[in-house]
Symmetry: C2
Subunit: 387 residues, 2 copies
């Protein structure tokens, strides 16, 4: 974590802040390398590099990394009417103890989206009033928000290894999915097989939490895959194109992959869509290098699809940042995007073509790390860059 | 839905409101019987009984119930810089068209928790500024919030059928879990088996969406089950107590169940814990009837555990409302709770005992409907009320 802590300290110095207070699950992963169980934990990172985690007494606590000071508060106890008041007083106590005032502590006011905690069946139960109370008196500025969110853009070496692990887990899920593909099976059955394979990795070396969300579409449903991805009870048929959007979280780090395959032999006009998308993905990958702008990569994918007559069928951006969430904050790889690729960034490359008049659609999505030398496809078992 | 619409109209009349604006997934299920795909839909219910759903163009749209007017807005399109401005102008247009002012429309300001949309791998991407803009100028009062949330307490006949279906799906998941229990298997593998069985029901009659979250603990890990529930890679052993917390959502309606079983023959001191919890659950169920207060039911469970010497091991409430979420708003079944059971309510009954000195814990949880005559256990295939 040393590299990340130093970046956080640099950020605090640049913003003239003495500390940073967070509660969103992905902010805690970024700053502590820790995935919250209930989604009710608060982190306080100080300019000294000290990191404090306030977590419910009911939290497991055993996944808190070394070097993080754990302070418990009594959420979930029957005898405690307002645990969040106690949480706030504990935070204030730690600040006072260090002579740090709230008006030199920053918090991210607005996050569009955030990740889920381990307890992923419900939105985290932090009452909005508690959030308001905890962050009251802190610095909340648009410019500071933007500077904090830019910390998501470059992954450290340690984080890259963790996201690599997530991608390996995801590839095991995709193997299980392909093994489950059979005429007669429903989309949902194969989605479940992919999720199960990831879930079952829990407890393997280095993996204390593994969960996946799979969305499978087949046959004519693939034509909708550019609008939404939802598994149905449709029974797959020989010759179908079959599509999976596959989201994986391991220990708080995310990958976002998509595969489209033919079940048996697809028709020539479906194969044409699939191969055009594969070409577009290769074109995008070949265009990538440090210093290249996001719109250039998007344009490479778009031009490849246009050459095959599918310009209007590519209805979304070519990619986005990923790793701390399913969708990380940061620039899109889209027309007009002025972002520039730099080493340490991890972006999806996901061109697609959705062709209702052919009753099909396809997308191929990989997670790609920018290196000083070029790119590395983290989800690369299947996708090779052909230079 | 007629019954629910009439209740909503009664609520609006009592609050002197002309309409109600919502965006949280469970509020939409309550008012429209519709589970949002992206979590980016807004519902507007008017005193006339008219129901309008504003949904992204990218929404599937095919699960919107009859009688709901669907209006699309362009979220997710590359050529649309601020779709939420358009959403707001569409809402304003519908209000103007009916001569309804914003200051007679209510919105729920604060919800502690809410459910997840179909796209369940991330928190819904509604920017907080968009929520503020959409709800600006509307009535947001603590008393109105409380009155709205009380609408969750009584399920209509139609909703009871839907929650019954969810419970049936959950029981299929629990059957699959029991079938997967074997010495040598990991907790996570059996959790995955339970989730898979529910997921695979997608497409069966009446089921367009089915997903489950399973948390399995075994052996000594069951002693922690009162604090948190998390599957690990522990390999189960003959004689273990094995525990599952099992959350299921079908079409937007939820169930929340727990089972604890012995893998093979448990030790006498583990069996004693399990049988004490079973007695406590039976005692709670026998105490239930319309008009009975929540604390009475809790006391019945607590007394049963105390008789067996496990008073201090029952560390949480006996139950909570469920159905529109994993945890519905409403009173807990806990010491001091002044809530009163009434027909149409669905509550969990989930006594537990967690006994670190015996290296084990157990909880049994069922979803129970209050009827005019007494109670019906919706998750009843296994739990019979022994009167």
């Amino acid at each position: 974590m040393t590299e990340r802590i130093e970046r956080m300290r640099g950020f605090l110095a640049s913003q003239h802040l003495a500390g940073w207070l967070s509660w969103r699950p992905d902010e805690l992963v970024l700053q502590l390398g820790h995935l919250s169980y209930w989604g009710l934990s608060v982190s306080l990172l100080l300019a000294s590099g000290e990191r404090i985690l306030f977590a419910p007494e009911l939290d497991p606590g055993d996944t808190v990394p070394e070097g993080v000071t754990l302070i418990r508060y009594p959420w979930g106890r029957m005898d405690c009417a307002n645990p969040f008041e106690i949480l706030q007083s504990l935070i204030d106590q730690e600040l006072r103890r260090r002579g740090v005032k709230r008006n030199v502590i920053g918090t991210l006011r607005h996050a569009h989206r955030s990740s889920l905690p381990v307890m992923a069946a419900e939105l985290p139960p932090f009452p909005p009033e508690a959030i308001e109370a905890i962050s009251s008196g802190t610095v909340q500025k648009t410019a500071t928000d933007a500077a904090f969110l830019s910390l998501y853009l470059h992954k450290t070496r340690d984080e890259i290894e963790k996201i690599r692990l997530t991608n390996r887990a995801a590839l095991a899920g995709l193997d299980a999915w392909r093994a489950a593909l059979q005429p007669g099976r429903t989309e949902a059955e194969t989605a479940a097989a992919a999720e199960t394979a990831v879930h079952a990795l829990t407890g393997r070396t280095g993996i204390h939490y593994a969960r996946a969300w799979a969305m499978v579409q087949s046959g004519p449903h693939t034509a909708d895959a550019g609008r939404f991805n939802r598994s149905s009870g449709r029974h797959m048929e020989e010759g179908d194109l079959v599509f999976i959007e596959f989201v994986t979280c391991v220990n708080g780090y995310w990958s976002d992959l998509t595969r489209t395959v033919a079940l048996g032999k697809a028709s020539a006009e479906h194969e044409e869509v699939l191969s055009a998308v594969a070409e577009a993905q290769q074109a995008a990958l070949r265009s990538m290098a440090p210093g290249v702008s996001a719109h250039t990569v998007d344009a490479a994918a778009r031009a490849a699809l246009a050459r095959r007559g599918f310009a209007k069928n590519f209805t979304h951006a070519t990619g986005h940042h990923t790793g701390f969430r399913y969708h990380d904050p940061g620039f899109a790889l889209a027309p007009g995007s002025s972002g520039r690729l730099e080493p340490g960034m991890i972006v999806t490359i996901e061109p697609g073509a959705y062709v209702p008049e052919r009753n099909c659609g396809a997308r191929l999505e990989d997670d790609v790390l920018l290196t000083p030398a070029g790119v590395e496809v983290l989800s690369s078992k299947e996708t090779e860059v052909n230079p």
